[in-house]
């Protein structure tokens, strides 16, 4: 269960990566740092006396707005250009946000309170922490909401259309730029959520999301970079296998367990480059 909970956090970040990848075709390397920055905002609000729940909620909203602003102000100028340029831009954002967070909040570790109680409940003879259950529940709720958004609402349909074929969408009156902004906003909010969920389990510092991002990449690669379902399943597989390998395989232990996702990325790329649920791109000659 603990593995599933950690996996849910990876899944949330992987979902954020998938959201941006599907709508803009780029891999956002700054996703983790955006989430870290958001988590610091939540922490700062909390430290300033805002109740935790409210601090987290307002952080989600702020992150959504900031994500949209980043797309509009920065990413928009490079869209449709060389993919490599965008990779460099997001890497630049990675470094910038990391430095900025350090400059504002310092580089030391900070404790971050959990949204859930530290009790445990026993279900069918298995002791489960409320926190783990809470994290999984939050992820499932988020996935459900995203599903409703994309499958059942007009704006979600337009977002999918804009990702598939921007030109055709514009001909139908869809403001493609706005859809991309929404995608970035959602991804930023999702990342922020992952940040505040993971922060109590680690310590909050500027490198909070470093390893989480790598696990999320592994999850997205495993599930397929264009599949939301794949991101969730991928996140769980990575979370559980990391947990089990760290605990039960002697020579791996806590230090080497980061190799697990890397190994998974490696094997998936070799065997099934499109991931478990991804669509293989077929181009006509």
């Amino acid at each position: 269960m603990d593995g599933i909970a950690t996996g849910s956090i990876y899944a949330a970040v992987a979902l954020a990566l998938v959201l941006i990848f599907r709508s803009t075709g780029i891999v956002n390397f700054a996703q983790g740092e955006m989430a870290m920055f958001s988590t610091f905002v939540a922490w700062a609000l909390y430290e300033a006396g805002v109740p935790l729940g409210l601090a987290v909620l307002s952080t989600l909203v702020l992150s959504f707005v900031a994500g949209m602003a980043i797309e509009r102000a920065l990413i928009r100028h490079f869209e449709g250009g060389e993919p490599l340029t965008l990779v460099i831009v997001t890497l630049g954002m990675f470094i910038l946000l990391n430095g900025l967070a350090g400059w504002i909040w310092g580089f030391e570790n900070r404790g971050f309170p959990s949204l859930f109680s530290d009790d445990a409940v026993t279900v069918g003879g298995v002791r489960l922490s409320v926190e783990s259950l809470g994290i999984v529940a939050v992820l499932l709720a988020v996935v459900g909401l995203l599903f409703l958004l994309f499958q059942r609402t007009k704006i979600g349909l337009a977002m999918r259309a804009a990702a598939l074929n921007p030109e055709s969408s514009a001909l139908l009156g869809v403001r493609v730029g706005t859809m991309l902004m929404l995608g970035w906003g959602l991804a930023a909010a999702l990342g922020a959520l992952a940040g505040v969920l993971v922060a109590p389990r680690l310590f909050l510092d500027v490198n909070l999301m470093g390893s989480v991002l790598i696990y999320a990449f592994a999850a997205a690669a495993l599930g397929g970079f264009d599949s939301a379902l794949g991101a969730v399943v991928g996140g769980w597989v990575i979370g559980v296998s990391e947990n089990l390998a760290g605990t039960y395989v002697d020579f791996i232990g806590a230090d080497l367990k980061i190799l697990v996702p890397l190994g998974i990325i490696f094997v998936v790329l070799l065997v099934r480059p499109a991931g478990l649920f991804g669509t293989r791109e077929v181009a006509r000659a």
Binding site: K154, L157, A158, R160, A161, L164, N165, E167, S168, S169, A170, L171, L172, G173, V174, R175, V176, T279
Partner: protein
Amino acid sequence: MSLLEVEGLRAAYGPVRVLEGLDFSVDEGQKVAVLGPNGAGKTTILRALCGMVDARGRAEFDGVSLVGKRTAEIARRGVGHVPEGRGTFGSLSVEENLRLGAYVRREDVREDLERAYGWFPRLGERRRQAAGSLSGGEQQMLAVGRALMLRPRLLMLDEPSLGIAPIVAKELYRVLGEICDEHGMTVLLVEQNAGLALDFVDHAHVLESGRFALSGEADRIKGDDEVRRSYLGY
């Protein structure tokens, strides 16, 4: 005043000039075709009017200039454009494609869906299928149906007969004719297949390397053997 008035329309892809200054107009309820061979610039006319390529000159739709406007805003003013190559969303279902056509509208979407299925029963039978699984002709019907979901005041069609079986193309034009008669639709059509187009429209222009070589009533062009042989090749 005409619904669409174009004066001195020029367009270029970088340094390559495609349109060299076109004047034409489309009246409310009128159907106008631009004919001409591949590469004459037919598609560019429609793309220029929809803000998809840089255009110069004057192009007014219902008194509002289209030049410099964004594609989405032009669509929101009531210009439905069935693009070259259809532009359907292959991984979305037929019904989702049609619903997207009504993206800027709120009311009566349900009725309009049924209306589209009435015009194109094959789409109704395949409403849950992915658009990409349809045949070329069905995808063209879908593209037309989707543009009509906008309830456009001007319908622009880019080579609807391209790449589909002649008999399907003929059927498509028959349905288009019915729809236009029923709703008094205003149409700007771009087509290489002059025979099909001239039976459908009221007025036609023949485009040759970015200029109109001749213009006139569809019936007159159809009846003029000289014109048909030298410009339209049929």
